[in-house]
Symmetry: C2
Subunit: 306 residues, 2 copies
Amino acid sequence: MLDVALLGTGGMMPLPNRFLTAFAVRQNGRILLIDCGEGTQVTQKMLGWGFKTVDVICLTHFHADHAAGIPGFLLSMANSDKGDPLTIIGPVGTEYIVKSLLVIAKDLPFEINFVELPYEKKTYHINQGGFSIGALPVSHGVPCFAYSVSLARIGKFNADAAKSLGLPVRFWGILQRGENVSYEGLEYTPDMVLGASRAGLKVTYCTDSRPIPSISDFAQNSDLFVCEGLYGDPALSAKAAEHRHMTYKEAANIAKRANVSEMWLTHYSPSVTNPKEFLGVARDIFPNTHTGFDRKTATLKFSEDE
Amino acid sequence: MLDVALLGTGGMMPLPNRFLTAFAVRQNGRILLIDCGEGTQVTQKMLGWGFKTVDVICLTHFHADHAAGIPGFLLSMANSDKGDPLTIIGPVGTEYIVKSLLVIAKDLPFEINFVELPYEKKTYHINQGGFSIGALPVSHGVPCFAYSVSLARIGKFNADAAKSLGLPVRFWGILQRGENVSYEGLEYTPDMVLGASRAGLKVTYCTDSRPIPSISDFAQNSDLFVCEGLYGDPALSAKAAEHRHMTYKEAANIAKRANVSEMWLTHYSPSVTNPKEFLGVARDIFPNTHTGFDRKTATLKFSEDE
């Protein structure tokens, strides 16, 4: 199970009821944040997920609307008595940028580890804080990454297979958790009692970027695809391209090619006062498109049909 | 005439309806900002005073709740087509701090000039952008300044004196504006037609500090004194002292000694959910105390009885 929350859906500048870009994923009670625009600490407080269990922050890039909330957010984490380390992942330069911002937030009571991703044509797989994270370089004029969070699901437990092994029942749960068991001189492995791996969960987050083909591959089969839609109005597509952003229509084409289950739009221009106005443009291409809004949440669950 | 606006009244951490510290003074359409906590660009937008005419930003000190909004605020200024220079005044180190924060807000289309104030036992008088600014070192454990903005008022125009000079009426307005006039080989100066200087306007802003005696001198006879009241509850005075802040009661004692006309409280702890709860404690000492709130505004006018 993955809980997700859009914390802020504003691009460039915040509006009174629209915070700047941030997205949270919660897994087993621990939180991964993607981006941290100005005001993220406020909307996180309104959401009620707390600050203490934020273990990972992924930065897409270093524009202010994605990063200016870092000092305040980290101070709120400090005030929540967070003591265990925080990992910040981002493009090369992340440590320099974050440390520059922290000139006004010194003496944090937790350690910060940095993972810097070279901006090269490759996909990264990172395991941090229990999260299985993917990172894809995208096209925004500056080094910028899309991120995914995946949760694998082991195969179905086969009680008959377990019985036939002659292994006492008290060991079954260990195998079911994916660990080996040694019993009476023999080694038992999880594959002996588990069926084939089943579809897990995957959420992909992409902003800011032009619509490049690799995004569809990266987001392939996501349960949720959160994608920027700076403008809904197709008449503004040239303007979106000029600033290395994308429109609802371009986002919908990616969602369709990626065969995702659902798409949420985010990172609206301040000029988009009613995000629903051009929703139909996206739905004509990818019907299960929804407009994101601040503190829109969902719980992604494993399918029950297996 | 001076317009004033409390943009944010939160200390330490913002609340959903309480932005972090910032205060604006507007004089002849130009704006001076004191502090710029996270979210200041949003509350400034809600206030409706715009960004283009902000000429001066005074920083009291470098804690995040007073400075984290700088990158976003300056980007909003850039988006408002501001082209003329901005002056940022603050303790020594201001240029380093601001430039560190601006790693995420590069290529601003206006020049920034810095005025750095050594933290010494003296009062500074600074004229910037048409504002007459005072700065006083206060006591917060780190270099920190209180600020005042004053607007002088020239003497009353004496039409009889002007007539007796034999100067044509078309020159009277020039003298009245405080400028000299040359006419038929003679030099006329404003003092020939103006009475004694009259009381001007003064607003003083003080946060964060312990209540030291120099603040009363600095704020003397202010029309408006805006002062921190981290806690209203007198039982928390030791806690306020420990963190180098002050309570409502301590602020009221300063207001009384300073003989100000009115005091607004600001910079509340997030634990102060109802700022009015202990207002009576302050009013027992200084009756014309009022609780500040986000976007509380006032227009200070010259008295009409002179």
